[in-house]
Structures are given as structure tokens and as C-alpha cells.
Amino acid sequence: MAKHEVKSPIPGTFFRKPAPDQPPFREIGDTVARGDTIGLVEVMKTFHEVKADADGTITGFPIGDGDPVMPGQIIAELD
């Protein structure tokens, strides 16, 4: 299957977990459907969900939990 990149539309700080004491939304190897939440971006005192815009299996997260993110930056790779 073709590779697909899920990008953040907004700048801020990227988080893979819904809360610090909870497990990540998704792990490498998980299958996701279009519309599933992959992570959160915090900006302007609010958290915005970043959702998968295609179906697939997660092959990587090129960005770490808590890292700064820029608009258009890849947050997850799907196969």
C-alpha cells in the first residue's frame, strides 16, 4: 500500500497522549481509520486533536511526545 503522511495543520506543542498519566492514542503497528485521533497539539491555551486523514497502519512517529510542531509537519506515517 502507498505511504501516507499525517500532518499537523497548526503550530504548537505535539502530544501523543490525551493526558500525561494516560497511554498514547496510538502506537506503531496500530491500524487507524480516517477520522481517528492520533495526537494533540497545544496552542493558545487549548488542545486540538490531529486526526488521521486516511486509513492505514502506523509505521512511525517522526516527532516526539512534547516536541514543538510547525504547520505542515509530519506527525505520523501510515502504510
Binding site: 500532518k7 495543520p9 497548526i10 503550530p11 504548537g12 506543542t13 497545544e42 496552542v43 493558545m44 491555551k45 487549548t46 486540538h48 514543538p68 510547525m70 504547520p71 505542515g72
Partner: protein
């Protein structure tokens, strides 16, 4: 004939040039954070410079037009599309009844100003259509634009040429690091000489808490205060003062750690000392800074601040000239 809002991005608000005159009552001036961008977008579509448009932060809306109009997008590089076809920023383009205006990923800057011929014609509140969301004033019911809203349009006042464009030399983009010029203020003596120098030497970064009320910065050294016995009415922290007025652009530094530059929707007073004020010529630029952008504060005197204001006015005149 209105515009139908299909999606609204994360923070799209109706803004004009604001409602000056009520700040002493605690109601901020409001209005576009990048005033030059809104004025320019309006000129491109034949509106008065102060007509109401949309201010979109990071993510643009999807708008369905029910009448033919001319549109311009200025400020951030948020690439517009008409029925999926790319259009230029800083340039007037037509949108026909039934077409959908949408946007690609943000390329640079933070706030795009979308002007539509005729302007957005919601009911003014205290002399302005600007949305002051935490005060529930202006805009549509005092809030940001939402999917399902309809935006009423006024009548176009002037015929326009599609394709009219702002010359590249007149489009200001932030340098890296961005430089914000600051005039030291009334409370400058409250910090040590080392802290005074450190504030201007350090490179700061825009924090995630960066919105219409204020922009927070992180990463520089903590400010050390000159010891004193706190005056009557001031809090116990050395960064506290007896409550005072906060000017637009003032830089408060709670506990001496993270400077906050107050912007268009700021609170009008309080008990934090202010290191100084960002000069008016650089306030538009703040509205275009993304989180994590490196920033230097540059010390200027009143003469330099006034010269910069004159330069900024000359740029706006040049834009008027180019678009007339």
C-alpha cells in the same frame, strides 16, 4: 446575500480596526492584530480600510459564497483556494456565487486577513464589528465564527480590478529571529542593571500562550529585582506594583520569568510591573509570530520609536498609492 460558513478553522473572528475609547472602562480596543494586513486586504477589494473582515489564526475557514464577490487574503501566507484551485495571497481574486473559498496549510506567519467586497455587515457594538470573545462583544453573538453561521455582506462601494496585487517590497515578513523594538518604561528602575541588559541580550521564544490578549515569551534569563519594601497596595512578589494602567504593547513580566506583551484584547490594568512597551510600529508583526519563533527585544528611545512609526505610516501610504 450572505456567506455560509462550512468550517471555521480554530479561531476565526470578525475584526475591523476596533473600538478605541473604552479602554479606561476595561473594554479593550480590539480589532485586527495585524492592522496593516486588514487595511491592505480591504483596499484590494475596494472596501474602506476599516471594513470588517475575517481574522483566521493558523487554519483558514471554508466559506460558501451565495453572491459574486472579490476577495483578498493578506498577512500570513495561508494559501487560498477557490473550488480547490490555488489563488495568490496579497492579490484580489473573484469568487462566484456557489463557489467555495478554502485554504491550504499555513506556510508562514500566523494570522490571515480575509476581506470580501462589501465587507462583513454584522451589527456594530460600541462602534465596531470586532469580536471581543472574552467580553462576548461584537462579531456574531460576541463569539468566534462557527460552522453553520451566515455572514451578511454590505454593498460593494467601489469597482475593483481582479488581479490587483501588492508589490512584494511592501509585504512585510518577520525576520528570524524576529526583532521587537521596546521603549523602557516607568518601572525600568525596578530591575538590576544586569537584568536590564540580559533582557535585550537573550533570545526568547514565543510560547503557546499567544493570543489576542497577549503574547508570552520564554527562554531568557529570569529578571532580578532591585530590593525594596513593597509600597502600599502592591502584592508581596517583587514583580508586583500598586495597580496601574496597562498600555497596549506593554511588556509585563510576572515573577520576572516570562514576559507577556499585551495586544488588542488585553486587560487594561493590574498589579504587574512593566519593563517597557513594544513600539506601535512593531505591534502588527507580533500578530504574525507562530509559537516557538525566536525573538529578540531591541532597545530603542522615543526618537527611534517615532521615526519607526513614521516609516510604518509611509509603507501604508505606499500601499494606498500602489492600489489606487
Amino acid at each position: 446575500m450572505p456567506i455560509n460558513v462550512i468550517s471555521a478553522g480554530i479561531a476565526t473572528t470578525i475584526q475591523d480596526l476596533g473600538r478605541p475609547g473604552y479602554y479606561h472602562l476595561g473594554i479593550p480596543m480590539g480589532g485586527a492584530m495585524d492592522r496593516l494586513a486588514l487595511r491592505t486586504a480591504n483596499l484590494l477589494v475596494g472596501n474602506d480600510e476599516g471594513a470588517a473582515g475575517l481574522e483566521s489564526v493558523f487554519v483558514g475557514p471554508e466559506l460558501e459564497f451565495t453572491r459574486d464577490a472579490t476577495v483578498a487574503v493578506c498577512g500570513a501566507e495561508l494559501p487560498p483556494k477557490v473550488d480547490g484551485e490555488p489563488r495568490e495571497t496579497w492579490t484580489a481574486f473573484p469568487v462566484k456565487a456557489g463557489q467555495v473559498l478554502s485554504f491550504d496549510f499555513l506556510k508562514s506567519g500566523a494570522r490571515a486577513y480575509i476581506a470580501i467586497s462589501g465587507g462583513i455587515n454584522t451589527q456594530p457594538k460600541l462602534g465596531s464589528r470586532s469580536t471581543y470573545a472574552i467580553g462576548a462583544l461584537g462579531g456574531i453573538d460576541g463569539r468566534a465564527v462557527q460552522p453553520g453561521d451566515t455572514l451578511p455582506l454590505g454593498n460593494a462601494v467601489k469597482a475593483v480590478r481582479a488581479g490587483l496585487s501588492v508589490p512584494a517590497a511592501l509585504r512585510r515578513a518577520p525576520s528570524s529571529p524576529a526583532e521587537l523594538r521596546v521603549l523602557p518604561g516607568l518601572y525600568w528602575h525596578r530591575i538590576t542593571e544586569q537584568a536590564q541588559n540580559g533582557f535585550f541580550e537573550d533570545t526568547w521564544k514565543v510560547a503557546n500562550e499567544a493570543d489576542r490578549m497577549g503574547y508570552r515569551f520564554q527562554g531568557g534569563r529570569k529578571l532580578e529585582f532591585v530590593e525594596r519594601e513593597q509600597p502600599f497596595g502592591a502584592g508581596a512578589d517583587p514583580s508586583n506594583i500598586t495597580d496601574a494602567c496597562y498600555p497596549y504593547g506593554s511588556v509585563q513580566v510576572p515573577s520576572g520569568t516570562e514576559p507577556i506583551v499585551l495586544h488588542r484584547d488585553a486587560v487594561s490594568g493590574g498589579g504587574y510591573f512593566m519593563i517597557g512597551t513594544v513600539i506601535s510600529a512593531d505591534m502588527d508583526l507580533i500578530g504574525q509570530l507562530q509559537p516557538h519563533t525566536p525573538v529578540r527585544f531591541v532597545r530603542v528611545d522615543m526618537e527611534a520609536a517615532l521615526a519607526a512609526r513614521k516609516d510604518r505610516a509611509a509603507t501604508m501610504s505606499a500601499i494606498r498609492e500602489a492600489l489606487s
